[in-house]
Symmetry: C2
């Protein structure tokens, strides 16, 4: 049956004026209706006299639309279209679910296991293809990527396309977006969607030698509107307002950042996840503001994940808990084992983490910026963790306690009902009891080697009796065992324990 799949993109293309500056001079939007429901979305100019309005329908059946424009040729245009069931693998956009987690619109849980290729869409086309090929073989389901090209250590090549057109003087004209650049960008957002990967779009960043981050507020606002008009209909879009917004505060004050959020809210009726990423540790944006959906954070101190949850009351996505690699910068030379370790700590404390890879390369081809090939050893282990979570977790893990309590300030444990994932990390007990069931129910209990990626049944032993402190009267009465059984473990670090009710 023909038609637009639910959470697909319906696009209206119209011919209109191309004189003057259509990006500035012409207003266009369209209202999409189904029965008594009306959703208005902005259109955008796509060059050569062509205007487009994109819409992501979220309900099956017959929809109609009608345009409104300052240009006669674009105004009052109407039509209708059929929305059909989503195809396999299309679960709709991701939104916050159960306060600290995410789910697709169809209810499928979404557990972010992201990676980072800031400027991959600005590399040569062959390298972009290589990046997609690599992603196909990995298990990442979110990608942080910037709209603008990047000027930074290891990032000194010119972008494939300028993001704005150049005037006759050769200078970028920040009133004229390059439709070639934006088409390439959205093509790749679509390619990610087809791989089941969310595109975590970084709207601003400070790594710039072209002038993109020095545009005045009015041009910034127009840019955010344009970006939203073009991309909001892609179901896999997330809005990351900035990478390291605090390094831009001299040119973009806090109120301006709020205004970007408002522009997106006004133009994205689908409510894609929105957040903003700090640079300095102590410079978290005020994530309590209602237009921020989840906490995007950069912080190495991952045992605080459950505290951050409590502090902000929103999902925690720690997208930069430092990267695996060996470069000169401290944020980019973590051992693979340490990054895997931090992923496990974050996830078992009820948060989500992001991967990045920064190994020195003779041609400066670092995954974290340019994509291409993965060279490290953490990505496979992160995929292993994702498989474990997706196999059994329905909504998301809750930390054993929000802010601590014995022994969960030291080791990490995530619970969902009777399902428990206890991550021992740098601890190497030969015997373990904490977090094990108190009843003698029917549980599968496994030991997971997080580095060697093995899962094997745990050996149960009698739970040791724990003497209570300060027993009066001199009697050596043991306290009650803390669990129905204990486990005998191999006494080496980087193990986890999984407890699952048998049915």
């Amino acid at each position: 049956m023909s038609g637009i799949e639910k959470w697909g993109i319906f696009e209206v293309a119209l011919n209109g004026p191309s004189d003057g500056n259509p990006f500035l001079d012409v207003t266009l939007d369209a209202t999409f209706s189904k029965a008594n429901r009306h959703v208005t979305v902005p259109g955008f100019y796509d060059g050569d006299g062509v205007y487009r309005v994109r819409f992501m329908p979220d309900d099956e059946g017959l929809w109609s639309y009608r345009t409104l424009s300052s240009a006669g040729a674009l105004d009052g245009r109407a039509g209708d279209f059929e929305v059909i069931a989503p195809r396999d693998g299309n679960h709709g956009p991701v939104r916050v679910s159960h306060q600290f987690h995410f789910a697709h619109a169809d209810g499928t849980p979404y557990f972010p296991f992201g990676t980072t290729c800031y400027a991959w869409t600005h590399q040569p086309l062959e390298m972009q293809a290589e990046t997609l090929e690599t992603l196909k073989g990995a298990k990442f389901n979110k990608l942080r990527m910037g709209v603008f090209p990047k000027h930074y250590i290891f990032n000194q090549n010119e972008p494939l396309y300028d993001v704005y057109e150049r005037g006759p003087d050769g200078k970028l004209d920040f009133d004229r977006p390059s439709v070639v650049a934006f088409r390439q960008f959205e093509t790749q957002v679509g390619a990610l969607r087809d791989l089941g990967i969310e595109a975590d779009i970084i709207v601003f960043h400070p790594y710039d030698r072209w002038g993109y981050c020095d545009m005045p507020a009015a041009q910034d606002f127009a840019y955010v509107r344009y970006l939203t008009a073009r991309l909001a209909a892609y179901r896999n879009v997330w809005w990351s307002l900035a990478n390291e917004y605090d390094f831009l505060l001299d040119v973009k004050p806090i109120e301006q950042w709020d205004q970007y959020f408002h522009i997106i809210e006004e133009n994205d009726p689908y409510r894609h996840p929105k957040s903003i990423h700090n640079g300095e540790e102590h410079m978290n944006f005020n994530h309590r503001k209602p237009w921020i959906d989840h906490v995007c954070i950069q912080n190495w101190n991952v045992k605080l994940t459950n505290q951050w949850r409590q502090e902000w009351g929103k999902p925690i996505v720690n997208d930069e808990l430092e990267y695996e690699g060996n470069i000169v910068a401290a944020w980019g030379n973590l051992s693979a084992q340490e990054l895997v370790h931090r992923f496990w700590i974050t996830v078992t404390r009820g948060g989500y983490a992001g991967h990045g890879e920064t190994y020195e390369h003779e041609a400066d081809l670092l995954w974290w910026a340019k994509g291409g090939k993965l060279r490290g050893e953490s990505w496979q282990r992160i995929g292993f963790l994702r498989d474990i979570i997706e196999k059994d977790v329905k909504v998301g893990l809750e930390p054993a306690t929000p802010i601590g309590g014995w022994p969960w300030t030291r080791v990490s444990a995530g619970y969902e009902g009777e399902y428990r994932l206890i991550y021992l990390g740098e601890h190497q007990p030969a015997t373990w009891v904490d977090g094990l069931p108190k009843d003698d129910g029917d549980y599968d209990v496994d030991v997971i080697d997080t580095w060697n990626m093995t899962i094997s049944p745990a050996k149960r032993i009698a739970s040791p009796s724990m003497p209570r402190l300060r027993q009066r009267g001199g009697a050596l009465t043991d306290g009650k065992p803390r669990s129905a059984f204990a486990l005998e473990l191999p006494g080496k670090p980087y193990l986890a324990i999984r407890v699952k009710p048998k049915r």
Copy 2:
């Protein structure tokens, strides 16, 4: 030449009444004088009609004394004695130096590298001898040890001696200290002194089945006075008011803890270091109080060491950053590598750390409680670190920044003048520049493998140019190199870099 060495113990022994309860009924102190200087110290009853007053002179030459007592036989007794130069290895008591560090009274710096054997003086005598033998072969220079025996997991044997006498009913009489127990305790404090080890005496702790921690306040106060009278003259004494005082708050409120401190201040004219150790992470005592000399802390989050320094403004001794071992409790099953790692982080952030070892043992002989043998792999590496510090550091390392700043929230660096110790830990750069000299001076630069205990010259390479962020005008002008040279490193974790000016 005969006489008492400076910082040795001069003891006055007197015969007096033994009827009634001499511990309660008789007051005794003595004033020691040299010219116009007068120091009054308390005496104590040592059983069998014998009373003693101990004094640690801190100045060479002729001293005199005169007693004051409620008992005629003990009152107005006087004498004099000659104080001679200290023997080799006697540097006098340790006190806080330069705000965040320690030094002996003769100016020799003291860098605490302690360990923990809570109840070693309550074990059989052969085992106590074994503990001393082990300490002789290790490089620890401080030992945490409790006056009272310990009731806890793995600690269920009866103590060698009761700390109080038992009455005819077999019950402990908390008005009559056991002089046998106290003599044994001070003998071992003296044995530690002779090994160059400070005795970090834990005055109260909650691990009890005999009733020691439930004494009423008046008996507690008498106990603290008695302990101080017996032990303050030992130059290697430190007063640790409690282990995990917060687990005793139901029976000993905060004001009572302050009172213990005051009693020690009133009776210890030598001002031995005083502190108090928390249980729960968030339950640090208010270390700002003037009677607390240094911060004794229990916290795994060792990258915060420089923040704690700033918060309290006193030396940080993290005596429980968890222990090497494999027992069932999370605080006691750290891998050896992790404990060494935490030591390096703590020390290069300007703090001091304490060791403990808790490996399961078929006869419950765990070093952390009973002493005996060391079985782990961290103690040698901690000794290696102590050697490195003592070789070159004069006062103590200062963290690269008090609360962070690039990149020292992530990696750790301690400076003393131009001497620098940079600990990379879980980071594995192939190239490194941060913290290296900015001038081209004459430095020895070494790479230290903290686990394999090797020190080898570092390979210098040209410092990479760092592009600045947000360069206007499109010109790719590199920023200045951040150091005079960079280092090529093996790209593996747990390395440190040492920079030393050549002369």
